[in-house]
């Protein structure tokens, strides 16, 4: 039943459903009404017969008491008025029939029933009522009344007839109504179905279903049209992308290849054909590999077979014969394109001519090698020169000491022993000679220290720079007794370094700062640290408010014997900052300075952190 219903068209389904629901409603109504009629009729009849039995019992009690059967009979005869009344019997106290109606009737065994109150019994065709006949407190007998139920039957028969008539009309009306409904409901659906079929058959996604109603089917139509628009859009973009892809393949200088999951070529490979000069049938026969250099072919085919087996990406270099017979270097890369279930659908790949690139790579390699060789040579030469230079400067400095000591010694003896006999000018000249000799001694000491730095390695350990700065500052305090100096040493991050060398650095930086701020009252010197944004490495600095320098000479600051001020103005050998820089460099750090003339200078340095 259900299966055959499913096969019906929508209009037939609608007709069946409407008709069945109409019938259902009417049947339910009729059954309800039928039941109501049946019950109410019976209840009515019971009520009527009960009342009647009371009246008759009352009216026959006298006749029964005084044994007047004729009177009882005449009372019962009143039942003539009711055609449904088929039998009435008055029983005496012993249950013997005393009077009956109609005259022709004969009491049956089942007619008597001893009752203490009114009782009734329905049979399919009759209703029988028994009532006690009493007078005062004494029981005189029993009355039995029986009606047939033909009136109920007749009424129900008529009602059934009407029901059948109404049902037939309902089916007819439902049938007519369903035709109209069909127009309202099935036409939009059929329209939609027609469009869907047309789209499927013609693949014309520009078609649209006509919307016929504003209900769910209308909404469905709209959704369908939206879907069609999306499909159309996607179809167009697919076509565009395919055209783009094909153009790319055609325009590309690369060779693009494509095989099925098993590595078989099923489509012509125009770029391969163009390069190798092979024909399309050759390619489709799988003979494309013959263009690979015979020496490379076995390895390539082996690698390809393995890639097919493992579904892994494939990259291999080989030589490929160009149509003119020249072999060119190629790299081929292939990737499997997977289905959703993880199996390989096809392989796609490229072959790129890397002959030129290989040649360039070789050239670069060769040049690099040459360059490295040259750099090594130069470095070696340079190192030798530096060593010679250092040895030379050391020996020069060392050898300079002897004549200098002679000059200083003899001039001092001259000043000590013969100063009284000399004119004042000669004494001044002697003093000048001694000053010059002392300065030169200082220069030589510095130079020796500087050249020593190149030879010895720093002895690195953890350093508390704050402490070191404070220590050096306190040693300098006596020199500053008659000066107004504000010196602040901020907390500094500990670092790794050689204590003796870094002490020298600090001495140099602080004494520079003090020296060039000599003209300031007060001199303000600040030692602190800062950090570049995003870096952990501390940058220590020493800032003064001294005379500063012009930044265009900043490059000369750290050179040996380079001075930015005249020595008459600020004494010094011009070696201090060179030593400082060398120490910092040997610690793997950097040093630099910033300044504005007459507005102070700041020296920054870094060390390899802890």
């Amino acid at each position: 039943m259900t299966a055959s219903f499913h096969r019906l068209s929508i209009s037939a389904k609608l007709r069946v459903v409407i008709t069945l629901s109409c019938l259902g409603v009417i049947a339910l109504t009729c059954i309800t009404f039928f039941g109501y009629q049946w019950f109410s009729f019976r209840a009515d009849m019971v009520g009527r017969l009960t009342v009647r039995s009371w009246i008759l019992a009352e009216n026959t009690s006298g006749a029964l008491a005084f044994r007047d059967a004729n009177d009882a009979t005449s009372v019962l005869t009143a039942l003539r008025a009711d055609p449904e009344s088929v039998k009435a019997i008055v029983f005496d106290g012993e249950g013997q029939p005393f009077a009956h109606y109609p005259a022709a009737t004969r009491p049956d065994a089942g007619d008597f029933r001893r009752v203490s109150a009114v009782e009734f019994v329905f049979t399919p065709n009759t209703l029988t009522v028994w009532a006690p006949i009493e007078h005062g407190s004494s029981r005189l007998g029993t009355l039995m009344l029986q009606n047939n139920l033909s009136a109920l039957d007749a009424r129900l028969r008529l009602f059934s007839l009407i029901t059948v008539g109404v049902m037939a009309s309902a089916v007819f009306i439902a049938f007519l109504g369903s035709k109209r409904l069909q127009r309202l409901i099935t036409r939009p659906v059929l329209e939609l179905a027609k469009t869907a079929r047309a789209v499927t058959e013609t693949r014309d996604y520009s078609r649209r279903a006509r919307r016929e109603s504003v209900d769910e089917i209308g909404a469905l139509t709209d959704d369908f049209n939206t879907m069609l628009a999306q499909v159309q859009e996607r179809d167009a973009s697919l076509r565009r992308s395919e055209v783009r892809f094909r153009s790319l393949v055609t325009a590309s200088s690369q060779i693009i290849w494509n095989t099925d999951a098993l590595g078989k070529v099923n489509e012509p490979l125009p770029s391969w054909q163009d390069f190798t000069g092979q024909s399309e049938p050759e390619i489709l026969r799988g003979e494309g590999q013959k263009a690979i250099h015979p020496d490379d072919r076995p390895r390539v085919l082996e690698a390809w077979a393995e890639a097919l087996q493992t579904h892994s990406q494939f990259e291999y270099r080989f030589r490929l014969r160009r149509s003119d017979g020249v072999y060119r270097d190629f790299v081929s890369r292939g990737v499997p394109i997977m289905n959703d279930d993880g199996t390989v659908r096809e392989w796609i790949g490229t072959c790129t001519d890397i002959t030129e690139r290989n040649r360039a790579d070789e050239e670069i390699h060769r040049l690099n090698t040459e360059l490295e060789e040259r750099v090594r040579d130069r470095t070696r030469e340079l190192e030798g020169a530096v060593k010679e230079l250092e040895a030379f400067s050391y020996s020069v400095s060392h050898d300079l000491r002897a004549p200098l000591r002679a000059m200083a010694g003899f001039s001092r003896i001259l000043a000590d022993e013969y100063s009284q006999g000399l004119p004042p000018d000669a004494v001044r000249y002697l003093n000048n000679i001694q000053d010059g000799a002392r300065r030169m001694g200082g220069l030589i000491d510095d130079l020796l220290a500087f050249s020593r730095l190149s030879r010895q390695n720093p002895n690195v350990c953890g350093l508390d720079l704050t402490h070191l700065f404070r220590d050096v500052a306190s040693e300098m305090a006596p020199e500053l007794a008659n000066r107004s100096v504000q010196l602040s040493i901020g907390p500094l991050t500990p670092a790794l370094g050689d204590p003796a060398l870094l002490r020298q650095v600090i001495v140099n930086l602080l004494s520079n700062a003090l020296k060039y701020s000599r003209t300031r009252d007060p001199a303000v010197i600040e030692v602190g640290e800062t950090r570049e944004h995003g870096s952990d490495t501390p940058i220590y600095y020493v800032r003064d408010n001294g005379v500063g320098f012009d930044m265009k000479y900043a490059g000369k600051l750290f050179g040996v014997f380079q001075r930015l001020h005249r020595s008459e103005e600020f004494e010094g050998t011009g070696v201090g900052l060179a030593i400082t820089q060398r120490v910092i460099h040997r610690h793997g750090g950097q040093i630099w300075a910033e300044s504005t003339p007459d507005a102070g200078a700041t020296f920054f340095f870094t060390l390899k952190g802890k």
């Binding site: 009216n59 009690s61 006298g62 006749a63 008491a65 005084f66 044994r67 007047d68 009177d71 005496d92 106290g93 012993e94 013997q96 029939p97 065994a109 007078h135 005062g136 004494s138 007998g141």
Partner: protein
């Protein structure tokens, strides 16, 4: 005795008190006329209403008197035993003279005592009087048992009933044959 009384009341007692009972449907019910009359005497107590004045006290007995030769034997006594009328226990009293009938509520006058009854002049007394002869009505007897086609029928003389202040149930009136005796 209860069974016997029941049978009598229901009118099914066969002739004699032998205990032979006609319960079978095939046998026609035969009840002796005398027993039937005894039953009727009892039934009158149920279908007739006496004025309050007829009872000296609340629990005064309801007296059924028999004047003259008693035809009922023990049947009547059996029937009324334990019964009551309007709350008064029913007793049977056999009278020697009509004068004693003044205390009765129902008085059965045997044919041999009708003259005695007439002499007593119980007119206007609340006594339902029952007799058996046609002449009974002429002496202001109220109800007569008449035998018609072997059936006991009731003949009712309304004038003395009204004069005595008795009320007869419509059911009794319905089945009784009424006569109006103008005789004073």
């Amino acid at each position: 005795m209860a069974t016997l009384k029941h049978l009598l009341l229901s009118g099914c007692l066969l002739l004699g008190l032998t205990g032979r009972i006609a319960g079978a449907e095939s046998a026609p019910t035969v009840t002796s006329a005398t027993d039937l009359k005894a039953v009727f005497l009892f039934q009158f107590s149920q279908f007739v209403t006496w004025p309050e004045a007829a009872f000296p006290t609340r629990d005064a007995p309801f007296v059924v008197g028999i004047l003259g030769r008693d035809p009922f034997g023990t049947a009547l006594d059996t029937i009324v035993s334990g019964e009551s009328a309007a709350g008064h226990p029913i007793i049977v009293r056999r009278l020697r003279t009509a004068a004693e009938a003044r205390d009765c509520h129902i008085l059965f006058v045997a044919p041999d005592s009708e003259r005695d009854f007439a002499a007593a002049n119980l007119r206007k007394q609340p006594v339902l009087t029952i007799g058996e002869t046609e002449a009974f009505a002429r002496v202001d007897g109220m109800i007569r048992f008449a035998l018609v086609q072997n059936r006991v029928r009731l003949r009712l003389n309304m004038a003395p009933v009204r004069a005595a202040g008795l009320t007869l149930s419509s059911k009794l009136l319905r089945i009784a044959e009424k006569t109006e005796n103008a005789t004073p």
